[in-house]
Symmetry: C2
Subunit: 331 residues, 2 copies
């Protein structure tokens, strides 16, 4: 377990150190956020704050994760969450880059973003399906059973990956919101993997490897919070939100715990659901709205709740749900 | 370990539920904060926000801690942290009550506060000294040795108790500052006690009891954060800060880990030290100041750092130091 603690600390220190180097550089390169015209009025003050800050945690997480990965673990299990994080992060990076260069708030068109995401997800799904330690079944938490999906495992995993990445992206709308809830998720997954490592001696190294990667994400994202907390000095951008979504779904994939995601990543889920419900209702009623604005955190904002309070509420909800998740892995 | 998780969740839910009952009542009873005239100018807006909110976490922590305490543990070891928390909390309660009723910012005079604190601390010190499972020695973390203080254990513990309680009180100066750092401390101590319970079968129930109490404090304080985070709807008051300081020192006392406090409660320590240095320097130089204002968080505030950023910085520092502390209890 010391290995996990050292990983968290190393990633944390690296992210803290990277902030004062990257933030002024992003500013000089004019990677400032072009605020979405569809967002709340009050967000106009955020114009000009640099984005693409996700690199502040993505790079330290990669470095710390590689340094502290246990040497004797199956290399594909070690690599898969890295590939998910870096792969989706890269798609987000391209999107951010185009967004800034074209001075458009929306970057790639939805289709241009979705096609590479789906292709990457299917590739990862096939890889996992063919791997002897993952295969075609998911663990059903709290019930101690496994659910064999057969070949349907591949589209299901692709859906989970694309869904998680885009939900994380939607949740990234308030200072410290995705970073805070994400850090709690990664810390919980790291602890769950450490408990699984202790309980399964035959898979100890593999679970430990995932605990280390999750710890690297925890420490790095917490370090990033130093700069992203309200009032934010930097935004994570799509490179950041895609990396967080990809990393989380990747950790769930190699531990076959994807069914745990709706619980621990509940705040991501409601961001997506509120968005889908809002659009569907709007179309069906030809112009009526259920929420004042979607995703849900903007609804709370327009209802008069201070930004910092909404972020705390989401953090506390995530903590409580992660504690419930931990109940499934303890005696 | 499930017992600890249930305790955290129960205390969290109780504190969340108690907030909307107690806060309006405190307002009606006019237990509003009279802001210290010596604090920063910007704090004047906080006039009228109810104080004594510490009851929102102290009561749920007591209830959850009692409900989930393991039945077979030594009852004195179970009771000691409760006594520390409730005893100092009660002194704080009296102070708050007088403060509000007299409309004075400072409540009891320093001496009126200190005398009962010292008496309570000596009593607790004697109790611990005479208990066969505690005795006169402290664990030296990271070195695996014990330091036998003999009868000096009693004044040392009294000093630790009084020092921790008053340092916690000094740290309680920004929205969510003491609650956030305190929650991190309690969560860490709960995890450390759970690890000690697994490592020491002969003391398993006693360590588990302390892990449960620490978990109760964690959950309750996190629930309180819902209302105390910036912009605060309620302040914890001396009843809250004394209860947090007392609980933390009490947990350290029964686990004989008092020497761990300067590390995990470092932010409390620097609050006290900065205050002492400021006053000593001021007296020695006949009017010069080292810090723009003491305790240190007010110095950062007057240096132009936003309140929420200072709180995050203190939280992150505490997290990192708690991770370092955990290194001393893991393989």
């Amino acid at each position: 377990m010391q290995r996990i603690l050292y990983t968290i600390l190393a990633a944390f220190v690296m992210a803290l150190a990277l902030g004062p180097i990257l933030i002024p550089w992003l500013k000089r390169m004019k990677f400032g956020q072009t605020i979405n015209e569809l967002g709340p009025q009050s967000h106009k003050v955020k114009q000009g704050i640099p984005t693409m800050g996700g690199m502040i945690f993505a790079l330290p997480a990669l470095v710390a994760g590689v340094i502290f990965a246990p040497a004797q673990a199956d290399w594909q299990i070690v690599a898969m969450p890295f590939v998910c994080m870096a792969g989706f992060g890269l798609i987000g990076f391209v999107d951010d880059f185009i967004k800034v260069k074209k001075k458009r708030s929306l970057g790639l068109t939805p289709r241009q973003k979705l096609v590479p995401q789906i292709l990457l997800s299917i590739g990862i799904g096939v890889w996992a399906y063919l791997h002897p330690l993952i295969g075609s079944s998911l663990v059903v938490p709290f019930f101690g059973v496994e659910w064999n999906l057969g070949w349907a495992f591949i589209p299901v995993i692709a859906f989970v990956l694309v869904g998680t990445v885009n939900s994380a992206n939607l949740l990234d709308g308030l200072d410290g919101l995705l970073a805070g809830t994400g850090a709690i998720d990664f810390a919980s997954m790291s602890l769950i993997c450490a408990l699984l490592a202790a309980a399964h001696p035959d898979m100890e190294s593999e679970y430990l490897a995932t605990a280390v990667f999750s710890g690297a994400m925890t420490g790095a994202v917490i370090g990033f919070l130093r700069y992203n907390t309200h009032p934010a000095n930097v935004f994570m951008g799509d490179v950041g939100s895609f990396a967080i979504g990809g990393a989380l779904a990747g950790i769930a994939l190699v531990t076959r715990l994807s069914l745990l995601l709706p619980l621990i990543a509940f705040t991501m889920l409601i961001s997506s659901l509120s968005d889908i419900i809002q659009v569907a209702y709007f179309k069906k009623t030809h112009g009526k709205r259920i929420f004042k604005m979607a995703p849900l955190h903007h609804h709370f904002e327009l209802s008069g709740m201070p930004e910092t309070k909404i972020v705390t509420m989401y953090d506390l909800t995530t903590m409580a749900l992660c504690l419930v998740a931990l109940l499934g892995f303890t005696a």
